[in-house]
């Protein structure tokens, strides 16, 4: 039997791929860094959103030492925070379990690196090489298990929490770890069950197929609104953010499982939480908001008019920079009326930002117009009635789709922040009764109703 297994494994041959296919296949691994890149923006978003919700200005002190201190409205604060976390003393309590204390924070962070592998970032790339059609999937791991793999990996991230709580050998940390563990186990049930309806409709676990189904029919949020609500709530609970942050409720158990951690080990927890939010946002956007798909625009249509899509993307960017320009102008005026002592230096910063954005906005808009007139996606050939385009068209369309997916994910990231700064913390028993008595039953009823309706409407399956 062993030799047969070896025989079987030996027969798995390496795929024959061209250079461009290899480059794209390997380049796709860069997508694992997207959650990390998100974190930088999201911490800024969280701080500014929180401050505006609470009628404050938010962090705006850290500055780059040029042009009278470039503050970028507090964006620089992230980096000073990072420097602080990296340069602080990494402290290990005497009675902590040394190995697990050091290893545990990395587990959750590692999972954040692995889970982007199952997300379809763009539609499968197809292009005409001259003699045959090349095809590259939009996911790093194109497996039929799809989202189950992501759930399996994220279920392992609990061990990071549990072991850090146990290893730090503190009662509060252990209590926090137990709460986190119990809550994650409870909410994983309703999280998985709520998705069964959409798996039933799409007929696959593969996220690529689910997105393709949504592209062909309708977004998941319209056919599965209850599932969307249950999944969103469970995901907020999974990430352990307010109102479900009983695991680190500072008024009861100080800080929960990361109580004994300092410096970058605490930073890993902190960043892991944000990475978890980003992953959850991308997953929700993929499952319920059509993923990379643009509404009413199929991938083929997008490729046929990729010049318009690129021009619209660049135009949107230019408009956003223009909006930033107007915002800076307004802030300059506001600061002038404040009667501040440092109005001169701030004025220099605002003038610099105003000048740069004022130049960049027309340049990007001109680029958009140029793209619209100069690019011309011509179909290279037609196979079975669908046109196959050259490689650059596919890649440009993929870039547009990635931008669309990221924009949708940002929407959900904002919902996380918004909910956190609105709702107070649940009590622990309230969290449990919400998870087991309401969300689980809602998910079950939703599954049954979906199955009946799907049977009645489609008649098959």
């Amino acid at each position: 039997m062993i030799d047969q297994i070896i025989q079987m494994t030996l027969n798995l041959d390496m795929p024959q791929m061209s250079v461009l296919e290899w480059i794209i296949t390997l380049g796709k691994f860069a997508f694992v860094f997207i959650p990390l890149a998100f974190i930088v923006v999201m911490i800024f978003m969280e701080r500014k959103g929180a401050s505006l919700i609470q009628d404050r200005l938010g962090p705006n002190r850290s500055a780059l030492p040029v042009f009278g201190g470039l503050r970028f409205f507090g964006f620089v604060h992230n980096f000073t925070d990072g420097i602080k976390l990296f340069t602080k003393e990494t402290f290990i309590p005497t009675y902590a379990h040394k190995v697990w204390y050091v290893v545990a924070p990395g587990i959750g962070f590692l999972v954040a690196f692995l889970t982007p592998a199952v997300i379809p970032w763009f539609a499968p790339l197809t292009w005409w090489t001259g003699d045959h059609i090349s095809q590259v999937s939009g996911m790093i791991i194109d497996s039929d298990t799809g989202i189950l793999l992501m759930f399996a990996l994220s279920s392992l991230s609990i061990y990071g929490t549990a072991m850090s709580a146990w290893a730090s050998n503190s009662k509060y940390a252990l209590l926090g770890g137990m709460r986190a563990t119990a809550m994650m186990i409870s909410y994983e049930v309703s999280m998985g069950l709520s998705l069964m309806g959409i798996f039933l409709l799409a007929g696959s676990f593969n996220l690529q197929h689910i997105v393709a189904w949504q592209e062909a029919h309708v977004w998941g949020i319209f056919v599965q609104p209850v599932a969307f609500f249950v999944f969103l709530t469970s995901m907020i609970a999974e990430t352990g953010r307010a109102p479900f942050d009983v695991a680190e409720s500072e008024s009861e158990i100080v800080a929960g499982y990361h109580l004994e951690y300092s410096a970058m080990r605490f930073g890993l927890f902190y960043m892991g939480e944000y990475a978890h939010i980003v992953i959850a946002s991308i997953i929700i956007a993929t499952l319920f908001l059509g993923g990379y798909a643009i509404p009413f625009v199929s991938t083929d249509l997008l490729r046929a008019h990729v010049d318009i899509a690129l021009a619209l993307c660049l135009g949107g960017l230019g408009t956003m920079i223009g909006g930033f320009h107007l915002m800076v102008r307004r802030w300059k005026k506001v600061y002038a009326t404040m009667g501040a002592k440092d109005a001169g230096t701030r004025n220099r910063e605002y003038s610099f930002l105003q000048f740069t954005s004022g130049v960049a906005s027309p340049v990007v808009l001109a680029l958009a117009v140029a793209v619209f007139f100069l690019l011309n996606p011509m179909a290279a050939t037609t196979v079975d009635g669908t046109p196959i385009f050259p490689a650059w068209v596919s890649i440009a369309a993929a870039a547009v789709q990635v931008v669309v997916l990221i924009a949708k994910a940002f929407l959900f990231c904002w919902i996380w922040i918004w909910v956190r700064w609105t709702l107070p913390r649940f009590r622990y028993d309230q969290v449990m009764s919400l998870g087991w008595k309401i969300l689980l039953n809602l998910a079950l009823v939703n599954l049954v109703v979906t199955a009946i309706i799907a049977k009645l409407v489609t008649g098959v399956r």
Binding site: L12, D144, T145, L156, Y159, A162, A182, F205
Partner: protein, 175 residues
């Protein structure tokens, strides 16, 4: 070639974790070793083109059941757990059972090696669902059995809840 490297890696991790489970002093380390064992087994399943099986292995066993085990160990974590001896003589009586099982398996493989059908071994989600739930098949569909097992588990869960509940209510009457 790369598969052999992966296989030997996973196999050695699984063996090492299994051995450590036997000799671990603290029950928590044993549980963690078991998790490592399960994850590497899932890797071997995936190597055998059965990724669904591997993922379900991680999801249910490593992710959920072992989490509960770790949870319970943490709740009941007391000082004397550290003093469990690594080996006691009662364990000797347990050695023949796995040894006999291993011998049996070896004999089975040696005399009557099962023919590994590559198509039947494929454990993708599609294959398994068709194999189990295809109602149009006449020979061996498993869906009725599956439903029965589901009902059985539901009954077990309800009775477990009832048992737990009863103790609570009697306790209340005592007070």
């Amino acid at each position: 070639m790369i598969s052999i490297i992966y296989f030997s890696l996973f196999a050695s991790i699984a063996m090492g974790c299994g051995l450590y489970l036997l000799i671990a002093k603290h029950p928590l380390y044993g549980a963690l070793a078991l998790i490592g064992n399960m994850i590497s087994l899932a890797g071997i399943y995936s190597l055998l083109s059965a990724p669904f099986l591997g993922v379900v292995q991680i999801l249910t066993y490593a992710g959920a059941i072992m989490m509960l085990v770790v949870f319970v160990i943490m709740v009941l974590n007391t000082a004397h757990d550290h003093e469990v001896p690594r080996f006691d003589w009662r364990g000797v009586y347990l050695v023949p059972v796995p040894a006999a099982l291993a011998l049996l398996l070896l004999a089975l493989v040696y005399f009557n090696s099962p023919v590994a059908d590559a198509t039947a071994l494929r454990g993708t989600a599609q294959n398994i669902s068709q194999f189990m739930f295809d109602t149009s098949r006449t020979d061996n569909g498993y869906w009725i059995l599956f439903e029965f097992i589901g009902l059985l588990l539901l009954g077990a869960m309800v009775s477990a809840v009832l048992i737990a509940k009863k103790r609570l209510s009697t306790h209340k009457e005592d007070v």
